[in-house]
């Protein structure tokens, strides 16, 4: 195909700038000593200091990370077991039904997931707070783990397992020394996706969080509803740097280990 034309390059540049402008706009004003996002008075780090001095905010930040790590871990275990279970199903129709059920939570609108989980937790008596948030994050992360692990299992050569069995490996050995190492990049990618789902979620958490427990997204929402505070800008500065590091780190790691690419995130 032809090379990138001048107007084409210009168009790409414009979209590129528009995509990043709001983020840099936020970060730029996080250094503003005036209290607004309009006129830059002078450089200050006070808003960053405010983030780290605010114990409540730090607790929320830690909660968010804790929920992400824990839910990611549990969802990865459940999802990997699920994917292994799915490939062991022989009947094609049953397998497709399970896969469709698996994908329901991926395609469902967040509001519906949040609302239905709220009903569920209220009925079975789970108190709204840390537990309900953690359980919902596990619940909506499981299907993406399955989808990341499944292709690895399907591309695996069945004769590897036969060979291991012939050579005297027990079922357990086959699992821990053949299957799990083989699908490990998929598991890793699944865990990573579960983390980002959890960190990014607002709507579901908003429904099931109750009073007293909050994650970063929910907190930013209530701060933003109250108006502009440059503390939020400082948070975005921190979040941007962390996100960049994680994405770039993941990109290089995946380039080496050929895991399913992040593009499944669609």
């Amino acid at each position: 195909m032809s090379k990138l034309s001048k107007p084409g390059a210009l168009y790409l540049t414009i979209v590129f700038i528009i995509l990043y402008a709001p983020i840099f706009y936020l970060i730029f004003y996080s250094f503003n000593s005036g209290g607004t996002m309009n006129s830059f008075e002078s450089f200050t780090l006070e808003h960053y200091a405010a983030v780290f001095e605010d114990t409540r905010l730090i607790v929320i930040l830690l909660n968010t990370i804790l929920v992400a790590l824990l839910s990611g871990l549990i969802a990865t275990i459940l999802g990997t077991l699920g994917a292994i279970g799915i490939v062991s199903v022989k009947k094609k129709q049953l397998r497709n039904t399970i896969l469709s059920l698996n994908n329901v939570l991926i395609v469902s609108p967040d509001v519906v997931i949040g609302a239905s989980f709220l009903i569920l937790f209220t009925l079975i008596g789970v108190q709204l707070g840390f537990a309900s948030v953690l359980i919902s994050h596990v619940a909506f992360s499981v299907p993406i783990v399955v989808l990341m692990v499944l292709p690895k299992l399907l591309e695996m050569d069945g004769s590897l397992i036969d060979a291991a069995r012939d050579l005297g490996a027990t079922r357990r050995d086959v699992m821990t020394r053949v299957i799990l190492p083989y699908i490990q990049p998929g598991i890793f990618a699944g865990f990573f996706m579960a983390l980002t789902y959890s960190l990014d979620d607002f709507a579901v958490t908003f429904f099931v969080t109750g009073n007293g427990f909050s994650t970063l997204s929910v907190e930013i929402y209530s701060m933003a509803r109250a108006g502009i505070t440059l503390t939020v800008n400082a948070i975005s500065g921190i979040v941007f740097v962390i996100t960049l590091l994680v994405v770039v780190g993941y990109y290089f790691m995946m380039n080496r280990s050929k895991a399913p690419s992040l593009e499944v995130r669609q």
Partner: protein, 268 residues
């Protein structure tokens, strides 16, 4: 594959029953309950009243506009990206903003569209009076399009990337103009990517409630806003569930319509 692993399956099946089947069943069940927990069809009757239908139609219209503009911006981007030298790297750079917390990006637009924000400052240079752009349809649609663009770029880029280049050369050799080649060859062959792009934009656009609250004030009410309103403000779970049932039905219909397999995205 000779894996025998029925035992591993139990926790996963429990997950499906508890968090996939049960919630759907509960929403359907609750949609038939009134505020006192008695069986009723009033919620459905209510949904077909003029006020709700108008809201649903408006929500559709907004979601349609958001999807259309997102597609119009994202397709050329995806197309041009396939022509860049380090296309994977550029793709990643275009996608990174989608990894930044959604709430933060939305918050940025509160400042950008504000009365004293940069857009108004820019317009003032040309002698326009500052106007309140926040809480308008324009600001709502712009913010939503901004948020969905990376999600639309990805599937389209993937289908363009898979496109066999020789087909394009063949078309050109046979005398097709650039536009004809695009219309008759490139676009039809990438329509699957466009469909998945539409899927990951349209349904989330119908159910947005955070952006409507923050950027559109309470002027724009989407189906998502209505559900949130019923569940968390009015505490009318019955009515909220009824709207949720319709949202799910619309989702199923649109998935049949776009004809792609279940694959979606989650954007607040």
């Amino acid at each position: 594959m000779p894996i025998k692993a029925k035992g591993y399956f139990i926790p996963y099946i429990l997950w499906i029953v508890l968090f996939v089947v049960a919630p759907i069943a509960l929403v359907v069940y609750y949609s038939f309950l009134d505020l006192n927990g008695n069986f009723t069809l009033a919620n459905y009757a209510n949904f077909f009243s003029a006020a709700y239908l108008k809201m649903a139609l408006a929500s559709f219209w907004y979601a349609f506009l958001i999807t259309l503009f997102t597609l119009l911006v994202a397709y050329p981007v995806a197309y041009l990206l396939t022509k860049t030298k380090h296309k994977r790297l550029w793709l990643m750079l275009m996608i990174i903003p989608s990894w930044i917390n959604l709430l933060l990006k939305t918050y940025a637009f509160i400042g950008i569209f504000g009365l004293y924000g940069p857009i108004n400052a820019f317009l003032q240079v040309f002698g326009f009076e500052p106007t309140q752009m926040l809480f308008t349809d324009f600001s709502f649609i712009f913010t939503a399009v901004y948020i969905f663009i990376p999600f639309m770029i990805l599937p389209i880029f993937n289908s363009l990337d898979k496109l066999d280049k020789t087909l394009v050369y063949a078309a050109r050799d046979l005398g097709a103009t650039g536009w004809t080649t695009f219309r008759r060859v490139v676009f039809p062959l990438t329509v699957e990517g466009v469909k998945s792009g539409i899927q990951v934009t349209f349904i989330p656009a119908l159910s947005l409630f955070m952006i409507t609250r923050l950027i559109a004030g309470n002027k724009v009410i989407t189906l998502g806003t209505a559900i949130e309103q019923q569940f968390l403000v009015a505490q009318n779970w019955g009515m909220g569930s009824t709207i949720a049932v319709f949202l799910v039905l619309i989702m199923v219909v649109s998935m049949l319509f776009t004809g792609t397999k279940m694959r979606g995205g989650r954007v607040g």
